[in-house]
């Protein structure tokens, strides 16, 4: 299984040169400079400033993990290494290329990906889409470039799915967003191999605010993967990305992500999809790193026959608080959703499933199934489940199932009685536990997940 070479520890710091790096802290001047540096259209600058204002008005969330240690004045909101965006890896500065190589991105691109994007700090350093997809009208660019080359489409969709008023960090994101992916799949185009973007946050105190905007037109199909990591610094960093997905009539889209930020990072991410008639959206996610994660991908089923699957797995070790879940809004008849959430908690870590399923009066004959399973290792780990369910008609149904427990000693005895040593037995059981989700991820990520289980979770 372990055929992916890891040349260096992904939480190691990379030595790179910056062409632009702002001072810490957020102000109107900072927001204006970001926009100016990107030579953005006026409407985007105005949008940023409006978001900044909303950010200043809104309070921190009153629920969930405490964010009191996160000092927003100590964050660097913008940093870039180069103005150029490469279409060949040879043109990427060698230290940065080495980083992505060590993360397995180059290898994966050569093997099976349809396209790759790579972001370092605030800007995208590499972007490439296979020629035949380009010819069929697929657009796969970093969002800053897309804003220049496809302004009308970007303007039509940008932050329409995620409103800056949703919460304080969505507003912050709107003010200082930079980089991210723009993916446009035209009507009827079915992309077989996945497209992938990788986000790397490198410096101390960094804030990364990439914006991913995806439009999958009628009858189209695609799979997009995001990977994230950051080195360990010992000071707080912040990741507040946004992912907006528009899945049009009868389209299928899968969004997979493996977020492995360092233990210093606050990962306060917002992901939302709007799903139209008979369309299907799948969220597959793994959360490992971060000291605090708050992430609840949301599906809004707006037309009849729309459906969504949410599969998520979270790992919380010492000092980690993984607050993750799903939100599904059924806003049309005959819609369905399926949520599977798994967590492994160890050494005093906290993992929480926080979910919400809302079936509106109009969403007749809708169905939602929610299943949460938690394994706790050691005595002082914590696992919580907060499912909110609201059904506003009498023809729909929601099921919720939850299990929580320790590794079963009888199972360990069983496996060891076949010659497997105890730690391998534990790892086998834990990997089996996450397998339904791991098997949906590309091999590299599945391997990374297995490795995480072995490295981080096996005492």
């Amino acid at each position: 299984m372990n055929n992916v070479k890891i040349k260096k520890n992904i939480h190691q710091i990379d030595e790179v040169e910056y062409s632009k790096k702002f001072k810490k802290g957020l102000s109107k001047a900072v927001v204006e400079s970001v926009s100016a540096d990107k030579k953005e259209p006026q409407w985007m600058l105005e949008h940023r400033l409006e978001c900044l204002q909303i950010f200043n008005e809104l309070e921190l969330p009153k629920w969930g993990p405490t964010l009191s240690d996160l000092n927003l004045n100590e964050i660097v909101y913008y940093a870039k290494t180069s103005d150029a965006k490469a279409r060949k890896w040879e043109d990427v500065p060698v230290e940065i290329k080495d980083t992505f190589d060590a993360l397995g991105i180059l290898q994966a691109e050569a093997k099976y990906l349809s396209g790759v994007g790579a972001q370092f700090e605030s800007t995208v350093v590499y972007h490439k889409l296979k020629k035949e997809l380009e010819d069929r009208g697929v657009i796969f660019l970093d969002l800053d470039s897309a804003l220049r080359s496809h302004e009308e489409i970007v303007k039509k969709y940008f932050m329409k799915c995620i409103s800056p008023r949703l919460h304080k960090f969505a507003a912050l994101h709107g003010a200082v967003w930079s980089g991210g992916t723009f993916l446009y799949v035209p009507k009827g185009v079915k992309i077989v191999d996945p497209l992938q973007a990788y986000f790397r946050m490198n410096s101390a105190n960094m804030g990364q605010f990439e914006h991913t905007l995806i439009v999958v037109e009628e009858g189209a199909e695609a799979h997009y993967i995001e990977g994230c990591s950051a080195p360990r610094w010992g000071v707080n960093s912040l990741h507040a990305g946004c992912v907006e997905v528009y899945v049009e009539k009868s389209a299928h889209f899968r969004y997979s992500s493996v977020e492995n930020w360092s233990r210093d990072a606050y990962n306060l991410n917002t992901k939302r999809a709007i799903i139209k008639k008979d369309a299907h959206m799948e969220w597959v996610g793994g959360n490992f790193g971060s000291q605090v994660t708050m992430l609840y991908p949301c599906s809004v089923l707006v037309e009849p026959g729309a459906s969504a699957d949410h599969l998520g797995v979270a790992f919380a070790g010492r000092g980690q608080n993984q607050d993750t879940g799903a939100k599904v809004i059924h806003a049309a008849p005959n819609t369905s959703s399926n949520v599977v959430s798994k967590s492994i908690t160890r050494n005093g870590g906290i993992s929480t499933y926080r979910g919400e399923v809302i079936i509106l009066p109009v969403a007749r004959n809708s169905i939602s199934n929610v299943k949460c399973d938690a394994i706790m290792l050691g005595d002082n780990s914590e696992s919580n489940t907060y499912p909110k369910i609201k059904i506003e008609n009498n023809t729909s149904s929601v099921t919720h199932e939850a299990t929580a427990g320790k590794l079963n000693e009888t199972d360990i005895f069983y496996l060891t009685s076949r010659g497997i040593n105890e730690s391998a037995a534990r790892s086998l059981i834990l990997n089996g536990f996450i397998n339904p989700i791991a098997k949906e991820l590309p091999l590299e990520y599945a391997v990374e997940m297995n490795r995480m289980v072995e490295l981080e979770l096996i005492a």
């Binding site: 079963n408 000693e409 009888t410 199972d411 005895f413 069983y414 496996l415 060891t416 009685s417 076949r418 010659g419 497997i420 040593n421 105890e422 037995a425 086998l428 059981i429 990997n431 089996g432 536990f433 996450i434 397998n435 339904p436």
Partner: protein, 244 residues
Amino acid sequence: MLKIKNLKVNIENKEILKGVILNIKEGEIICIMGPNGSGKSSLASTIMGNQKYRVKSGEIIYKKNIITKTSVNHRASAGIFLAHQNPSEIFGVDLISYLFEIHKGYSKAKNIKALSVFDFNEKVKVYMKDLQIDDEFLQRSLNFGLSGGEKKKIEILQMLILQPELIILDEIDSGLDVDALKLIARVINKYFDAKKAILIITHSKKILSYIKPTRVAIMKDGRIQKSGDSSLVALIEKKGFNNE
């Protein structure tokens, strides 16, 4: 092959084995019978090394080595096999990968070269045919959602892969219909030879029609109360466990 000397074992601070003495030689098939709660299955688990069963005193000696403190997996590698009474269901671990894992472990312990995946699969298919196990189970999670009888067949499949010398069958007949019992017994009898030993744990004599014991022992209240040849079975049949 196996010597158990005055073994006293606690589970959750309650004494459950109260001085068990037992010798098993190569080529022997020993059956331990006894009522529920007499300590038969506890003895099987203790021989295998389950940590839940705390050895308070006494010794377990396997092939001249004291193994009382040896870990479960090392006992397995040394050639002890326990067919569990209630095999665990391990979700997400597909049977064929699992079987290959234990084959690799076995090969490493024996210091021999493991088979290639292809050769191993071929071998497993032959075993499965003998045991009449559906090929389709190979891709399913280990024991997950299987019937009692199917699980018992998967136990014996693992026995064939691990090639053990001391085979402990803990209530192998429970959950099996007569045809499946006959089938499993045939496979075990075929595997058995003078270099091996079998310890059958059962509370019913059903299985003894198909696997003939060389010796029968009766366990009651944490001790072996009586042992003799298979004529003892007829006696139990007539008088029950309580009237010896």
